[in-house]
């Protein structure tokens, strides 16, 4: 065949990318595109990861027999270091041109540095925005396009290092997880291992520093058991970098064999370099299947929840609207009752109050005119009565107003919804408190001097005659001293009697006049109060029923629109459901093809 055939995984990957575009997932798309570019690149990236101080950099150095990575007792590796093949040794630091920014998608600059200095520069590069170091050396191991990536330790207190390690993880084709032999794999390391497996399925666990630990074989056995229990299909190779480096220095082949590196190199050759295509397929399968499952999950949820979620939302809007209409009706009965009851109470209370006040005034009048003479100071009395009645009326009316406002508030409280303008501004009739007619002055008969004279004479006449007759028996003349004296006495008395009677009459007349006036006032004013009460009641009722009607109309409208929405939804939904099914079928087919590439077996069905 003259044409170069694209590897099968490329088709699948491209289709997956297309699916991501259709489903509007630019994030997944970017990730897959990155993977695609990386897989098309003939380089094989092998990531060396692990917790800090496990001997990662030393492992890289020992693999290459060259001190290319910074090693030391404290935390030394601060940025990922990429070691790849070059005909002449070279090194460069890659820095972010801008001060801040992520590892990708920001302009970076490469600064060439002498290869002897690169380790020093890397370990002191903390603050210079160095993103990674790149080293090229001539080594047969790297000839086939192998790139070893030394990473900062995971779980270090400086979290930035950890972050850059995970960022590099995305680009890896295979990984070497480094754990030293001084202890078995910790739970943190197991978590790390699983995390690495997710992004890059080809992981080999390397147990380092076996020269230091007498019991390294037990540790290796325990680690194998741990991996088996966790179901992690990773190989485990024990090595000693110190022995390997020393063997390289002295050319001691036996020591080299003891270091365990021949096995590790063979493993790298066999599992990583030689099976690049298998690796690619596996890596693509993992990334693609994870992307497809991410696409499928929301789609399936949408399909199953279509009836229940979207329609349910519309239906619940409808139900809510209807419920609120009912609620409004039920509650309008309530507020009307409240209004009627309260107003009836109010009017009777106010009337009683008014009656009470007028009676008090009348009692005062009675008391006054038991003693006083209406002839004297009538004008003053009239003024007093008028003032008192006015005061009673004002107080009573103020009370009415207060109560009316209270009633309005109470009704508002019983109203189904709250609004700013719920309480009416004014419920008052304007034409209130028309003055009652003036107090009628009672008729007062004056007791004049001739009247007094006449009354005195009439009284004295009887006295003179009575005593004159008695004394005439004693031989005295009819008109004598005694009879004249008695006459004067009688006359005086009858004048007194007469004026007393007249006073009583005047008082009675005054009381009657006051009574009448107060009655008139009461009649007139209580009528007014009743009228205003009814007026208030009417205006409140009008106010609230207008509001209620408005509400009802709004609610009914929303209920109607909800109903329309439910009906519209039905057709729309069916269309979407069909489309969704089709999409899902397509994704499932794609997923099966991905599975065929050799990804992890995961269950996925339509």
């Amino acid at each position: 065949m003259s044409q170069v055939m694209a590897p099968p995984w490329l088709d699948v990957l491209d289709e997956t990318i297309a699916a991501c575009v259709t489903h509007r997932r630019p994030d997944l798309e970017a990730r897959l595109r990155e993977k695609r570019a990386q897989q098309l690149d003939p380089k094989l990236r092998v990531l060396v990861v692990g917790e800090s101080k496990q001997g990662k950099s030393q492992l890289v150095n020992a693999l290459l027999n060259a001190p290319v990575c910074a090693v030391g007792d404290d935390i030394t590796t601060t940025v990922p270091t990429f070691v790849q093949h070059a005909d002449t040794p070279s090194a460069a630091l890659v820095r972010n041109a801008s001060a801040r920014g992520s590892i990708f998608h920001t302009p970076t600059e490469r600064i060439a540095v002498p290869i002897e200095q690169v380790t020093k520069q890397v370990s002191t590069a903390r603050s210079q925005h160095v993103v990674r170091a790149e080293i090229g050396i001539p080594r047969a191991l790297l000839d086939s396009g192998l790139v070893l990536i030394d990473t900062p330790g995971v779980g270090d207190t400086r979290s930035a290092h950890t972050a850059s390690t995970f960022a590099t993880l995305m680009q890896a084709d295979a990984a070497l997880l480094v754990s030293d032999a001084t202890g078995e794999l910790t739970s943190a390391e197991m978590t790390l291992l699983k995390k690495v497996m997710e992004a890059c399925p080809n992981v080999t666990v390397v147990v380092t520093k076996i020269d230091l630990v007498p019991s390294w074989r037990t540790v290796v056995e325990r680690n194998k058991a741990l991996l088996a229990r966790a179901g992690v299909p990773a190989k485990l190779i024990p090595v000693s970098s110190a022995l390997r480096l020393r063997a390289a220095k002295t050319g001691d082949q036996r020591l080299n064999n003891e270091s365990g590196f021949p096995e590790l190199l063979a493993c790298v050759q066999r599992d990583i370099v030689a099976s690049a295509d298998l690796l690619a397929r596996r890596a693509v399968a993992v990334v693609a299947s994870s992307a497809i499952s991410q696409l499928v999950t929301p789609l399936r949820e949408e399909l199953t929840a279509h009836d229940s979620s979207r329609t349910a939302a519309t239906i619940s809007t409808l139900q809510e609207a209807q419920r609120r209409v009912d609620e409004l009706r039920r509650r309008s009965a309530r507020w009307q009752n409240v209004l009627n009851d309260e107003m009836a109470d109010l009017i009777s209370d106010v009337e009683y109050d008014l009656r009470d006040r007028t009676r008090k005034i009348l009692r005062e009048v009675d008391k006054t005119y038991d003693e006083a003479d209406p002839a004297i100071g009538w004008d003053k009395f009239e003024q007093w009565l008028e003032d008192n009645l006015n005061e009673a009326a004002t107080t009573n009316f103020a009370w009415l107003m207060e109560r009316a406002e209270w009633v309005a508030a109470k009704v508002a409280k019983n109203f189904p919804v709250y609004r700013e303008d719920l309480i009416p501004g004014s419920v008052l009739p304007d034409d209130l408190l028309e003055p009652v007619g003036r107090l009628e002055k009672p008729k007062i008969e004056p007791f004049s001097i001739p009247q007094k004279l006449f009354t005195g004479l009439r009284g004295s006449y009887g006295g003179v005659l009575m005593f004159g007759l008695v004394t005439s028996l004693a031989g005295m003349p009819l008109i004598n001293v005694i009879s004249l004296g008695a006459g004067a006495l009688f006359g005086g008395k009858s004048i007194l009697d007469e004026s007393d009677q007249r006073l009583k009459r005047r008082q009675a007349a005054a009381k009657a006049a006051a009574q009448r006036h107060v009655d008139d006032f009461f009649m007139k004013f209580s009528k007014d109060v009743r009228d205003s009460g009814r007026h208030i009641q009417r205006s409140l009722r009008n106010h609230f029923s207008t509001l209620a009607e408005e509400f009802q109309e709004t609610l009914l409208e929303s209920a109607r629109s909800a109903k329309r929405a439910v009906q519209d939804d039905q057709t729309e939904r069916e269309r979407r459901l069909r489309e969704g099914r089709k999409e899902l079928d397509k994704l499932v087919t794609l997923y099966k093809r991905v599975q065929a590439l050799g990804g992890p077996a995961m269950e996925l069905s339509a």
């Binding site: 101080k53 001084t182 020269d211 230091l212």
Partner: protein, 464 residues
């Protein structure tokens, strides 16, 4: 009244208030008893970090590790008791096998606590508690006054543990009870001959690290195996090591490259592989390398070698740290534990008539000068409060960051007499009073200076 007297009387008062509650009385009585005891130091850390090794090194006798809480306290003769569930403790035997002491708890499948009484000089001032790896910080600190936390390198998990250990309002105002230990210092340097000095440098860096500093009083590095070896080096072992050292450096080097080679077949010195295996287990490959190097350098008697090992393994530093931060501050640590216990009591059984005590508790925590000193130390070390460089060191010294004796506070490195100390103190007092009254200084500096002045004033009566 000093802090410990105040707290003591609070404990007594609480006992009177809660006399009708058996649980509370039991709790208070145990704390009153604890108040007069030596400082209890818990040794904690991840599994296989070397907790039992460090405990053994401190005691000076090697004990086989046990997977439960093991208390080592002073006693006239070796004895051990197992506390398992409710009921009386059972006495068990302490045997000796292969140079190690074994507490024979065979018949108890689970022990809550094992208490070993042991005649040792270290245990006169402290009670050491070896803890199982899976114990939570609450369990560990419930019984202990202070904490030695062992780790390799400071990792997030370690910081979380230390944060949890400080996660209490009273504990936070008085974070004075932790010393972090870089255990297995020999492994940090990948077994190179200079591993221990580089481990010391790393410890020094962590001491200044902003994440680590507020959580502990000090960071020291210790090579556990070497420290134990230093204290328990036997005649026959020393002889074997000397015969190894008699070999040339180059000749031996090849056979010390790895543990496997050391116990391998072709060995230049006629020495039973079993002996070599035993040496390896006791000292590690690093230990053998270091000891043979030391013997070659002239530390060729057991006494000389032991002195070197104590110093190089970091055991000396660890002991000094324990002395400065724990035993010398016994009163404060005990008061702190008692205050925590009272706080627990008041929260578990709140009472009307304990109101006054609760207010007292708050006042003591907020105002005790000892706590204030410690808070200032923490603030200065963490950089929350900044003083000019020359004042910072003096302030730290005066408030007792380097020791609480008057000599240490005043910075004398020789036994100065009363008069000399008094003059130095008066000089410092006048200068710090001026600093406290300096209107141009920021508020936090003035407040720090006030605390230093108060410390100096407290020292004055001791020196007159």
């Amino acid at each position: 009244m000093t802090l410990d007297r105040v707290v003591w009387s609070m404990l007594q008062e609480a006992l009177a208030v809660y006399r009708d509650s058996p649980r509370a009385t039991g709790w208070l009585r145990s704390h009153i008893e604890r108040y007069t005891e030596p400082v209890r130091i818990a040794v904690a850390g991840r599994s296989r970090i070397g907790k039992s090794t460090v405990v053994s090194a401190l005691i000076g006798d090697e004990f086989a590790p046990l997977n439960s809480f093991v208390w080592y306290r002073n006693g006239t003769e070796p004895r051990a008791h197992v506390f398992s569930g409710p009921g009386r403790p059972h006495e068990v035997a302490v045997g000796r096998r292969g140079g190690r002491h074994h507490v024979e708890i065979g018949q108890f499948d689970r022990a809550d606590r094992i208490v070993v009484e042991w005649p040792a000089r270290t245990l006169r001032d402290v009670v050491l508690i070896d803890t199982p790896a899976e114990a939570s910080p609450e369990q560990v600190l419930g019984e202990a006054d202070a904490l030695l936390y062992l780790m390799r390198h400071v990792q997030d998990e370690d910081l979380k543990y230390l944060q949890a250990a400080n996660d209490h309002p009273i504990a936070r105002t008085a974070a004075v009870h932790t010393v972090a230990v870089l255990a297995r210092a020999d492994e940090i340097g990948a077994g190179r001959i200079d591993a221990l000095s580089s481990a010391k440098q790393i410890a020094r860096r962590y001491r200044r690290d902003v994440a680590v500093q507020p959580l502990c009083q000090n960071v020291v590095s210790v090579a556990g195996l070497l420290a134990v070896a230093a204290k328990t080096l036997r005649e026959d072992e020393f002889a074997a090591l000397r015969s190894l050292a008699s070999l040339g450096r180059e000749e031996l080097e090849d056979h010390l490259l790895s543990a496997d080679r050391f116990v391998g077949e072709q060995f230049p010195v006629p020495m039973d592989p079993a002996v070599r295996q035993a040496l390896l287990e006791r000292f590690g490959i690093f230990g053998v390398r270091l000891i043979t190097a030391l013997i070659r350098q002239g530390f060729d008697t057991q006494v000389k070698l032991t002195g070197q090992l104590v110093q190089r393994s970091g055991l000396g530093d660890l002991r000094d740290s324990i002395a400065i931060h724990f035993t010398e501050r016994r009163e404060i640590l005990k008061a702190r534990s008692a205050l925590l216990a009272l706080d627990v009591l008041f929260r578990m059984e709140p009472r009307q008539n304990a109101r006054k005590l609760m207010a007292d508790l708050e006042r003591v925590v907020a105002s005790a000068h000892d706590f204030r000193e410690l808070r200032l130390v923490a603030a200065l070390q963490a950089g929350r409060t900044k003083l000019p460089a020359e004042l910072q060191a003096e302030a730290l010294r005066l408030v007792g960051a380097e020791g609480t004796t008057s000599l240490a506070r005043l910075g004398f490195d020789y036994e100065a007499d009363q008069r000399e100390q008094r003059e130095a103190l008066l000089d410092a007092l006048v200068r710090w009073q001026a600093q406290a009254a300096d209107v141009h200084a920021p508020n936090d500096q003035r407040r720090a200076a006030q605390i230093v002045v108060r410390t100096c004033e407290g020292l004055l009566p001791q020196l007159s």
